[in-house]
């Protein structure tokens, strides 16, 4: 039988799964070992040995010779990107979108001309990549050239990806000749028209070169069947595989949301059409892509607990009040979760606090990912103005990451969703009554890992893992 080993190196745990790829692909087993920070290859080998029943001192090189090994990593806290554009609602927002969907974490973003102070902030964040966007093709030159010159003098080893006004390519090449630089097609060649794939590919290629530097990853890389990819990119590729598999079947791809909530960030992926044109709805701003990722760096359950409690304080307060729980005790839990990141709740009170913090993260992550609609009266009648992505057609929420997988009940997620739906202000375009499926065996990122090489099999196993991507009713409706 053709077997395949998939490994995910996380900041706390290194997880592995063994997949069988016969006519009917299957999961043959999973394992999990603590991540070995000083030499990541030891943890990778240990996870593989546990799974394959090999002697514990077998090297990853030996294992790689036996069967194909695919590895993704969120170690080093992922890829850090500074996103630079001109207008906040246009190229700055596109630059952020590209950085997120390439699996990056946005260390800083700037609009218009970069000031000396902003440059100093970027330098201090030590990003792996600076994504320089701005101007449509044949459009703005002033800001783009100013920013390119500012980056030419930037300290640090960051590579620059230029994906702005194509007319300036030669000039930007000249200005930034002293740095590692990739020039790709403009992310916004015309106002409102996106072309994000080339910039995404450039970021990915730089990541692949940089992630393997140090920490024993060279040995892992050498034993790998492919490149080591960032974990968020693996998940993104899984959704691409699902989208493609849906095309082949009747009725097109399913509409789903995938939430990966971890200790440091909450990542939301959506796969669905962004905008369904109908009479009386006008889309303002940029139309988001059908596959989109947002990363919330202030919403996490451990390392990010304090910032999550701060962002979500209104939500947390209301929930604590309803449960009659103490705000001081909650604050103490947040503090200890931040300091002891491996801690799990030990009693009912702590479980409640962990839940409330998770709900607050979900509430804000959902609100930020979803678009809004506002009804305005015009002399010609009522018009609905949509901004951002319409998620109302989403029928399934796949929940991944430690808490969502462990929780065993979809009640907290549904509570956060319904609070977001009821939130005051503009109407939020959230899923209406989705089914929730937990990735209890933490298979989705591991499947994402093999999705580029084995598209159909990965999509099929993912569908099994969440109890089917479409219900019979949804299939029928198509």
């Amino acid at each position: 039988m053709k077997r395949l080993l998939s490994i995910d190196i996380g900041s706390t745990w290194t997880k592995a799964a063994l997949f069988g790829l016969e006519d009917i692909p299957s999961v043959l087993g999973t394992s999990q070992v603590p991540t070995t920070q000083d030499d990541l290859s030891r943890g990778v080998a240990a996870a593989a040995c546990a799974l394959l029943g090999l002697a514990s001192d077998t090297s990853i090189t030996r294992i790689g010779a036996e069967l194909p090994v695919h590895v993704c990593s969120s170690a080093k806290g992922g890829l850090s990107i500074a996103a630079i554009g001109i207008v906040p609602d246009l190229t700055v927002s596109v630059a952020r979108l590209v950085a997120s969907s390439a699996g990056g974490r946005i260390a800083a973003h700037t609009a218009y001309k970069i000031t000396d102070r902003q440059l100093a902030v970027i330098e201090a964040m030590k990003p792996d990549i600076v994504l320089l966007c701005g101007g449509t093709d044949g459009g703005n030159e002033t800001y783009v050239l100013h920013n390119a010159r500012a980056l030419a003098g930037m300290r640090g080893a960051a590579a620059v990806v230029y994906a702005g006004n194509a007319t300036l390519e030669a000039e930007v090449l000249r200005i930034l000749s002293g740095r590692p630089l990739q020039v790709v097609r403009n992310v916004m060649p015309e106002v409102g028209v996106l072309d994000i794939e080339p910039a995404r590919a450039a970021i990915r290629s730089i990541f692949l070169q940089r992630i393997v530097e140090g920490k024993g990853l060279e040995a892992v890389r050498a034993a790998c069947a492919g490149d080591i990819r960032p974990t968020p990119l693996a998940v993104y590729e899984l959704l691409e595989a699902i989208a493609a598999s849906g095309d082949a079947a009747a009725g097109g791809p399913p509409s789903l949301l995938l939430i990966d909530m971890g200790g440091a960030t909450t990542d939301v992926y959506s796969l669905c059409p962004a905008f369904s044109p109908d009479e009386g709805t006008v889309l303002r701003g940029i139309e988001p892509p059908s596959l989109m990722r947002t990363v919330e760096g202030d919403l996490g359950l451990r390392v990010g607990a304090a910032s999550a409690a701060e962002t979500g304080h209104a939500y947390v307060e209301a929930r604590l009040q309803k449960e009659g729980a103490s705000a001081e005790a909650f604050a103490a839990w947040v503090q200890s979760a931040r300091e002891h990141t491996a801690v799990l709740p030990g009693n009912d009170a702590e479980r409640l606090f962990d839940d409330i913090l998770a709900e607050a993260c979900l509430f804000h992550a959902l609100c930020r990912h979803a678009g809004t609609a506002e009804e305005v009266w015009t002399p010609g009648g009522k018009v609905r103005i949509q901004r951002g992505k319409d998620l109302r057609g989403v029928t399934l929420i796949a929940a991944s990451g430690g808490w969502l997988a462990r929780r065993g009940s979809d009640a907290p997620l549904k509570r956060a969703l319904s609070a977001a739906q009821r939130d005051t202000g503009a109407m939020r375009l959230l899923p209406v009554s989705p089914r929730v499926a937990a990735d209890t065996r933490y298979l989705l990122p591991l499947l994402g890992n093999i999705a580029a090489a084995h598209r159909k099999e990965a999509a099929l196993l993912a569908s099994e893992c969440v109890g089917g991507l479409m219900t019979a009713g949804e299939m029928h409706a198509r």
């Binding site: 246009l90 449509t136 459009g139 916004m188 015009t378 010609g380």
Partner: protein, 147 residues
Amino acid sequence: MNAPTIVLGVIGADCHSVGNKILDAFFNEKGFRVVNLGVMVSQDEFIDAAIETGAAAILVSSLYGHGEIDCEGFRGRCVERGLEQIVLYVGGNLVVGKTPHEAVAEKFSAMGFDRVFFPNDDLEKAARLLEEDIRARPREPVTERPA
């Protein structure tokens, strides 16, 4: 000269789209690069698009009689956001009622619009004026380019 870029749209809560499409086709044929934002465009959306595209002019349409309140402060907003040199035109049924054209033109000129047009104005003439105005505007402060 290089084909200048112009930004086109109907301001405010105005949904009149037919005239907008005619202007789009017309100015394209006259050799302008037209960035058409369509209907229901806010002041900031005009300015956002003009910045990203390096536009030489913004042409604002208003057909539903609320032009005055929608256009109030447009020039100031352009200046605030770094578009001091942009050519600003406005045209359409700008106010409700039978106010004489001269009075309307004066009002919108005072707001900082370079030219004001009315429903029966000649488009050919408007295109000629636009070309002249763009050519005559002070050059952007030129960014130092290498020899």
